[in-house]
């Protein structure tokens, strides 16, 4: 059990946890700012970004793709803003116009280009391939101190760990301006916080999280982790610090439970094959949200419902 676990499950699970946390951190602010669907939009436009990067460089190496995807996210945000202002269109619809069109462009580019030689297709973009990120060189737990084996760790792990670390660090450093401008943008501006830069920074950090996670686990987890753990956490507490803490707990729980259920669930039920880990992690995060919505101590609204 030990050796098999270390070889097959340890790294995908770690990557899953790191991806979940990297997305859930900025997700807290997106949810509070009513910008949850920016996460949705970003994860859809990642596809045209990486396809464009592939067409330009002709290879599926990491850095061009990350840059392409981040670039696409920025293009999408700029386009949404432009359409909102120039056409006087409400933000939701403007978002809908932009991300579906960019996604369509991505699919078309993909069909038009010869990608038969490389592993690049829409399905992979949507739900990634977490199960394949195994640590082939590992024998058992002792491999954790074996430098030769450690060198063979899947590169996605380091990338994801790096992204999660940077995002956590940025969240800590910019905690105050983020919190202030999310709560009361006008006040934040009045005390000299560059609120436009803060919200653009939040979008870019979200894009970085989306892109880094997307590479390993596909965009479906990205959307789910942007929204479900923070939303569930919001129903647990009225304090931002605790909400962020809960969201990390829920994100980790989703990743671990989802991965285990996808890998072993079917076996327990008498099946022979695992099911999609990405899909299962999203499903578990949804179940957690449902539980929080039913039983969370701070689930109901204070004050009048906004909107209609």
């Amino acid at each position: 059990m030990g050796s098999e676990f270390v070889q097959l499950s340890l790294t995908p699970m770690l990557i899953g946890i790191l991806a979940a946390i990297a997305c859930a951190l900025p997700g807290n602010f997106l949810v509070l700012r009513r910008q949850a669907l920016i996460g949705d939009a970003i994860s859809h436009v990642v596809l045209p970004g990486i396809v464009a990067a592939f067409l330009i460089t002709g290879s599926v190496s990491t850095w061009p793709m990350l840059l392409g995807a981040a670039g696409a996210a920025v293009v999408a945000v700029v386009l949404i803003e432009a359409i909102k202002r120039l056409g006087r269109i409400e933000p939701g619809a403007a978002m809908g116009v932009v991300f579906t069109s960019l996604f369509a462009a991505g699919v078309l580019l993909l069909e038009q280009s010869d990608t038969s030689s490389v592993h690049l297709d829409v399905e992979h973009a949507l739900y990634g391939n977490l199960e394949s990120l195994i640590w082939f060189a590992a024998e058992d737990w002792s491999s954790l101190v074996d430098s030769a084996a450690l060198r063979e760790l899947p590169p996605e792990l380091f990338r994801m760990a790096g992204a999660a670390f940077v995002i956590a660090l940025l969240t800590l450093i910019f905690w105050r301006p983020l919190k202030l401008s999310t709560f009361d943008e006008a006040f934040a501006r009045a005390v000299g916080i560059p609120t436009v830069a803060v919200s653009l920074g939040l979008v870019i950090v979200s894009a970085v999280a989306a892109v880094a996670a997307f590479d390993a686990v596909g965009s479906i987890i990205v959307i789910a982790m942007f929204i479900c753990p923070p939303a569930a956490a919001r129903l647990m507490t009225n304090r931002l610090e605790r909400q962020v803490f809960w969201s990390i707990v829920f994100a980790t729980l989703s990743a671990v439970l989802g991965y285990v259920l996808a890998g072993y669930g079917p076996l327990w039920l008498g099946g022979e094959h695992a099911v999609s880990a990405a899909g299962m992690i999203a499903t578990v995060s949804g179940l957690i949200l449902a539980l929080a919505a039913l039983f969370g101590p701070h689930r109901s609204r204070i004050g009048a419902p906004t909107g209609s």
């Binding site: 006087r88 109901s300 609204r301 204070i302 004050g303 009048a304 419902p305």
Partner: protein, 268 residues
């Protein structure tokens, strides 16, 4: 005017009989989360009155109207219109929401908004005929907006938007008119046009209830008041209920005594 009605109500006590009242509320409570917005309010609006609902910001004035009409869930309480449950009497009511509650960039023209008032008559499929259009235009004429019929609503000023809302309510030809802050942020000419129309409606025997915030005009515009601040403070004819003591109780420290002196209060 207040005195005549005061006399009338003394002569005919049946006016305060909930079964005949166009708008009677009993023990109405509304809460958002655990915070009550309206707490156990009773009120019986006399038929044919011009009633003002008065209270400070956040006192639950608009919430009271919305809850009475079923737009906000009631925690408890009953609302009747001429003795019938309000849900069955909506066709007798015309409601004018706050101007700020809609998107004025919506793609629709002034005349189309007024025609919405004829929805009960037109239903799903009946075509809009010339006589419907004429009626809508006549309503616009009454509020001085006939020249603006073909305008997109976004091009109107705030006062003009309020007039369009009133025209839509006129098209409904109701017995009871409920208006949420009809004079909020409108110009002097519009305020005059609106109060003229409301007084005309009242003279035709219809009951008018307004959420109102300008204490200076209460005595001029209305004959009956309901003072609330989450709970009911006072209710009755302007002459007896709209008193400095009651206002002090409603507004607490928020109302300076000097301010009260400037109001045209009935001689107590």
């Amino acid at each position: 005017m207040g005195t005549t009605l005061c006399l009338a109500s003394r002569e005919r006590p049946s006016l305060t009989d909930p079964a005949r009242s166009p708008f009677a509320i009993s023990e109405l409570t509304v809460s958002y989360g655990e915070k009550p917005a309206v707490l156990s309010i009773d009120a019986t609006v006399p038929a044919g009155s011009m009633t003002a609902i008065i209270g400070p910001n956040g006192a639950g004035k608009s919430t009271l109207l919305k809850a009475a009409l079923g737009m906000v869930p009631r925690l408890s309480g009953a609302v009747t219109v001429y003795g019938e449950p309000v849900e069955k009497s909506l066709h007798r009511i015309a409601y004018v929401p706050q101007r700020a509650s809609v998107d004025w960039d919506f793609p629709t023209r002034v005349i189309d908004v007024v025609l919405m008032g004829l929805y009960r008559e037109l239903g799903l499929l009946r075509p809009v005929r010339a006589r419907h259009r004429e009626r809508a235009l006549a309503c616009l004429e009454r509020v001085g907006m006939a020249d603006f019929a073909a305008r997109q609503i976004g091009q109107l000023s705030g006062g003009q938007q309020q007039r369009v809302f009133l025209a839509r309510a006129l098209a409904q030809d109701a017995e009871l008119y409920l208006l949420d802050e009809p004079f909020a942020g409108v110009d002097a000419a519009t305020e005059r046009a609106i109060i003229t129309v409301l007084k005309d409606l009242n003279a035709e025997g219809r009951t008018v209830i307004c959420v109102h915030h300008d204490l200076a005009t209460v005595a001029d515009y209305f004959d009956h008041v309901l003072l609330i601040n989450v709970r009911k403070v006072a209710e009755g004819p302007v002459a007896t209920a709209f008193t400095p003591e009651n206002l002090q109780k409603t507004y607490g420290g928020r109302l300076a005594t000097a301010h009260i002196d400037q109001l045209k209060l009935p001689a107590a």
